[in-house]
Amino acid sequence: MTPLDQLLLLSALTVVVPLFTGNRRITGPLATLLYTGQGLLLLRMAGLGYGSETPVSSAVSLQVLGLELHWRFDALSWFFALITIGAGLLSSWFASGEWAQRYRDSGSSLRLFHAALALNVFTMLVLLASGELLSLFIGWELVSWASFLMMSLGSNTALRYAMRYVTYAFAGAMAVLMGLVLVYTRTGSFEFQAFRDAVPSMDADTVWLLFGLFAAGFGVKMALLPFHLWQAKAYAETPGPGAAFLGAISSRMGLFAMIVVLVQIIGVARLVELPVPFTFLSGRDLLAWVAVFTIIFPTFTALRQHDARRLLAWHGIGQGGYMLLGILIADDLGSAGGLMHVFNHATYQAVLFMSVTAVIHRTGTSDLNKLGGLVARMPLSFLAMLIGIIGLAGLPPMNGFVSKWLVYRALILEGSPLLFLGAVIGTLGTILSVYKLIHNTFLGQLRLEHVDIEEAPSSMLWPMMILSTVVFVTGYFPGLVLDWIASVQAAVGLPVLAHHLGGVHIDKGGLDMIWVVSVLLAGFGVGALVFLSGNRSKRVHQLDNYAGGHFLTADTRYQYSDNFYPGLMHLIGPWYRKSFRWLEGGFVSTVDTVSQLMQGLYRHTHPAFYLLAVVVFALSWVMGGD
């Protein structure tokens, strides 16, 4: 029994245990404990993360239909597993205290929630451990359906969006299946190595086909354009901690699979050689542009949301674009940026979802037009969200900056101004959007009905604080994460990033976050000194405001929240055409029409007519063929 087997076994146990402990209060803490155990088992394989160990394979292997299935962990799997288990651990912790009580009291099944969470973690670990294409596909499907289970735990609305997800996901899975069967018929094997060996001898059309199938199939999970419509709503409607988990890691499984197939096996170099007909683009450029549009469009859709969870979920889609973009650059900097962004995104996205969930827990709403001023009541949740949004926006000193910096730097080195510009537009849109989020939730006037609320319970605060610390510390010392990234790069076959604790040293302009953050903190210190050098200030009530000679009273709360950026919207508002929804709707209508036709075929016409047609056709063909 290898450490990998132990890990998978414990993970499976985590699924089973909530089924037995059921709706009791102990379920949450118990699950958390089990996740901790999984984490420890993962740490036993820490050598993978630091590149000092060869891949750990599972003792289990199967032979079905003459196809061999086996599982193993390498640095890439380890890195993603670390994030998965971490997200599972903290989400489960978050979901074990008061939240659980509330959830149970509302008539929902805690048993099912924890089982679903554990199932998600388990299936992801299975996917990450896959040792050839077939087990990859099996893991892929398991993950899809596990997250479907998680998404459908919510209300009727959630069910509807989960349904949409499953349609997209299954169609994507079919594309993947088609791809891997194609590979099988070419190579006679599902092994990665066989595929890799066969790639150089494949002609361009085949590679194009495989590339298209795999990119589209895995892209569905990543919510790449134009398959992104399902994600935001489905994640937003998932019960809070579940949303934090899904938002943190679930769709990154698509990225994992893409790295395995497109980078590790087919290789980005091969994609560069694939020309897009009638253009000067290559296959890689095409996907990179898809990534950039995945950054821009969802980010600006997020800007228009007035539900905190949806806003975050839309950003989650957009951030996926940076990861893919970085990895497609495929040099040491870019791929490191893309990979690191997976980790960073998981941390700050989880923190953001948790903090929004904490707000919902206390106020009962996530409508950004019905909140405000909560910083006075929930300062620690505010702090968590602040750290989260700085990370999400990719500003120093949080970790989101480092990964984006790596991507930008790589783009400059490569000389892709338009991709760079697209990425930056995404970042700017994010800044606008996240400010709206924090402003409408925590800043401004505190509403009357929220005057008496308290800070989130400690079971929520602890995970948030831990994650916030991670966001900051890995921003301060990015080398901590870059160590893992480097071994991932080595495992995947990408150029390995030379780095140090503070970042990277390049002759032509490197980054040392230790210095940058230190100087920033020192700057804040100076700012504080300057501030304190002034006269003493006096705290006033929030209603003690300049209001043009008018008195604000306790029952009138002015809050600037709806349509937060009117100037911008005035200009770009007409650009929101809902084109993708239109596209989806058009597709559905087409299917509907064809389907109606087919029903008509069975319903309205005289059956014998077809019979005649077929017989006449067949006979004439036979006679003619003779």
Binding site: G373, L428, L511, D512, W515, A522
Partner: protein, 299 residues
């Protein structure tokens, strides 16, 4: 370079920046006054203003975040100055680079936004909404220009960029190498500095609107200090990218003052732009020119 020298540099750089920034503020006010056929303030007026604001008896605070916001606004620029090499002092140029600088420059905006948000005055929030929109407007051409420069020089290290330009004399300046990009930068510069005619978000004419509506005393003073840094940063960055940077203070100072003064003098003549017009303008001409410049520079 040893650590103590570096630390001294890091201390000195913001200080120098502040002094020069004060001069720039003064210059701006002089230019504005002269254009309006007034004389303008005396030499030390900016200092007096700051001292006055910090010393005021009525200092209204709307909460901790209000204060932290102002601290962030000043502190962010203090940190940013250490990333900008000036003659004799490279500071952290090799540890941050121009991208980091661009992003550190957003922190003061965020700080100010947080502070104003905490003030709980909807008019303040409106101002922030405009300010952030304006940032979205000018940052696109600005980033384009930064990309072009970094690509052409092949480095993001500002000290290296200066060195490259210095080697070839005036003909090696970015202005000569990539005139279109320089033009685009020049067009975006007034907006980056938040000055006329793009200062609608500050709303100096509408007393009851804008970020400053709840700012009194040292809060206002903090913003004033921030403005000094803002002008300085924009000027120095542009000089560094396109005008050969500074080898000696004697040539450096005129350059940065000119960079701030010339567009200002021209821009001062324009009427104030509405927010959406800022976007429209910024996304049209500077971006267009910048893209053309990029196309030329990368060919």
């Amino acid at each position: 370079m040893n650590l103590s020298e570096l630390l001294i540099e890091l201390l000195l750089m913001p200080l120098v920046a502040f002094v020069i920034g004060l001069g720039m503020v003064l210059m701006m006010r002089k230019i504005a006054a002269r254009l309006g056929r007034r004389i303008g303030p005396p030499l030390l007026q900016p200092i007096y203003d700051i001292i006055k604001l910090y010393g005021k008896r009525t200092q209204i605070s709307h909460g901790l975040i209000h204060e932290i916001g102002i601290i962030m606004a000043v502190g962010g620029y203090v940190a940013a100055e250490t990333l900008l090499p000036v003659p004799g002092m490279n500071g952290l140029a090799d540890k941050g680079g121009v991208i980091t600088l661009a992003y550190v420059m957003m922190i003061p905006s965020l700080g100010m936004a947080l502070g104003v948000g905490q003030c709980a005055n909807p008019n303040g929030s409106i101002g922030i909404s405009r300010a952030l929109t304006a940032m979205l407007a000018y940052d696109i051409p600005f980033i384009l220009v930064i990309f072009g420069a970094a690509y052409v020089y092949g480095t993001t290290n500002l000290a290296d960029i200066i060195a490259i330009q210095q080697q070839q004399g005036v003909s090696g300046w970015g202005l000569m190498q990539m005139p279109l990009l320089a033009l685009a930068g020049m067009l975006a510069l007034p907006a980056v500095m938040g000055k006329q005619p793009f200062e609608i978000y500050i709303a100096p004419a509408e007393i009851a609107t804008g970020p400053m509506v709840e700012m009194s005393g040292k809060f206002m003073g903090g913003l004033f200090v921030m403005q000094c840094f803002q002008l300085y940063t924009a000027g120095v960055l542009y000089t560094t990218l396109f005008l050969g940077g500074g080898a000696y203070w004697i040539t450096f100072l005129p350059k940065i003052y000119a960079v701030v003064a010339i567009p200002m003098a021209a821009a001062m003549l324009f009427p104030r732009y509405r927010t959406e017009d800022v976007i429209r303008l910024m996304w049209k001409w500077p971006v267009l020119v910048g893209l053309m410049g990029l196309a030329v520079a990368m060919k």
